[in-house]
Subunit: 337 residues, 2 copies
């Protein structure tokens, strides 16, 4: 469990200071000139253990990541509950958990911390930066901040600014959690409901019709059992305070904020070779969002994955994503190999 | 406030009996041979006062309903909280409110009650039956039960069987309400959250992007203020128990249930001249559902409304619906006039 200590005082974008914060990260393979660096930015409820949540990106499962050629790095983001400093951490100023007093974290704060880690690892070149959903938002930020470091990036089911639609879904998940905050039993129940609401934005009409039709032997709707199962699974594994911090991080994503120019102008400043991948059934980050990025980022490519899985296809369709990465980064990346 | 008494013992589809139940209904105009009868089936949270929730259907607002030619009838559905017997009514067996002990009501029960009302009004011919959403589900049921009575019907943003997707949205609204059921403050708050979750299914990405973008002067997201406003407005006006009864009515809608044949076969038995209207941005009752109905109902027409308003366009776009009704029912209906 490698842990990277951030500077004693880590200044956030909003001016607040995190003391003695650290990042949990994982490296598969070694950092050397013989290996290409793939840095993966995880999504909302992800962790630094890429293989656990994105197995289909790996060679052994039909994906492109090959341990002989690639070194994979992933760091858990600030504000999460999977090893990096977040609301479940002890605040050194009070010796108590931060809880709901954890400061607001922006995607730029996340990248600032990643850059600190990158430097400590003596990495001066990232061959491919990959991010889906929230992770794609962060990757795009990184490519704007360190264009000389990020050679290629794949932004999957992501956007340049979070939509009112996406904010609405996140807000209602937070409101469901707040509704249950009165007592610990229902607080736990409430994060399950938040997860189930999120599932409506992660999946699609066709996915539910194809896979969760009708009733089961107990005369319950299969879709209800399925959603309840997803909620139960999630209960034990995520912090309600992290849910607030990370969903607000997503809501506030806007690459044009505190920069000099319109969204389109900022996109046009991206120097990294960029591949935007969209999913045709994605209700949460619809195709037009990847289209906008691809249109304005110089020389960017847009690829569309046909899937009925909705937004979650970015996790499920790692093999298709792998083929698109191989195809589009061949010139810039694979020929070098 | 006309009230129609149903038979002392009203037997429901599931075998349970409602005692001394009644329907609240409204009639605009008189029932005579000189007037054409338009019967409107209201949607989930609607009432018998059509003009209050569907004003754009009326001539004075650009719609087709003309008091000189039409008599409009609408009855509040069983299980609702707008005048017909529902969970807020007194159970004559206990002299207490039914509350959550109100029996399950099906769309067929609703139509059985409407037929009882129709007969009491000596109506033997309904020129146009109109229903949107849940109301369209009920209209379709009625046309199967009384083909000789219903001459024309417009089924708007509706379906022949409710989808797993739709059930998922309804279920999570019910779960949010249950989460708040522990105390009365949060129960009230919970129905507001249920309404806000519903808004996500009633509207669309484009609607929110166009109309609720960015932040207001208090630095709150406009979309959040908008949803909170919708939730607040709803709090006072709907019963949580009715919310359960009516959303389950919708979930259980399936014209093939307890009938002899597949969904497609049952649709092919419809004798009423049918117009199916879909909305291109409808996420809750997507176009394919109206397409399925139009494909299998003999001689049915399918019309598509272009709107960014999502499912709610069925309420908002009454003028467009009026033009489609005029156009499609001209032969069967207007030439008779």
């Amino acid at each position: 469990m490698p842990q990277h200590k951030l500077p004693e005082k880590f200044v956030l974008q909003n001016g607040e200071i995190l003391h003695q914060a650290s990042l949990h990260y994982e490296i598969e393979g070694e950092i050397s000139n013989q290996k290409e660096i793939i840095w993966i930015c995880h999504a909302f409820t992800g962790s630094a253990t890429v293989k656990s949540w994105w197995p289909s990106l790996y060679f052994e499962n039909g994906g492109f990541i090959d341990p002989k050629r690639h070194t994979v790095i992933c760091a858990n983001i600030l504000g999460s509950c999977y090893g990096s400093t977040g609301p479940e951490s002890i605040n050194p100023d009070t010796n108590k958990k931060y809880g709901d007093e954890f400061p607001e974290i922006s995607n730029r704060d996340v990248i600032k911390a990643f850059i600190d880690l990158r430097k400590s690892l003596n990495i001066t070149n990232i061959d491919i930066l990959i991010g889906g959903s929230l992770g794609g938002q962060q990757a795009l930020e990184w490519s704007l901040i360190e264009p000389e470091i990020i050679q290629n990036q794949a932004l999957i089911a992501s956007n340049a600014k979070h939509s009112s639609w996406g904010i609405a879904f996140n807000e209602l998940q937070r409101q469901a959690i707040s509704l249950g905050a009165n007592n610990s039993i229902s607080k736990n129940e409430a994060i399950a409901i938040a997860r189930k609401i999120a599932m409506l934005s992660y999946r699609s009409y066709d996915d539910f019709e194809l896979n969760q039709k009708g009733k089961n032997e107990q005369d319950d709707w299969n879709i209800v059992s399925y959603l309840n199962y997803q909620g139960e699974k999630f209960k034990g594994r995520f912090s309600t305070d992290s849910y607030f911090i990370l969903s607000k991080m997503m809501d506030n994503h806007n690459i044009a904020s505190a920069r000099n120019g319109s969204l389109e102008q900022i996109l046009s400043l991206v120097k990294t070779n960029t591949l935007c991948i969209g999913i045709d059934s994605d209700n949460l980050f619809p195709l037009k969002e990847q289209g906008l990025m691809a249109h304005h980022i110089p020389n960017a490519k847009l690829e569309i994955i046909n899937s009925k899985k909705g937004h979650d296809a970015f996790l499920i369709e790692g093999n298709k994503i792998s083929r698109l990465i191989e195809k589009n980064f061949k010139k810039n990346y694979y020929e070098k190999a």
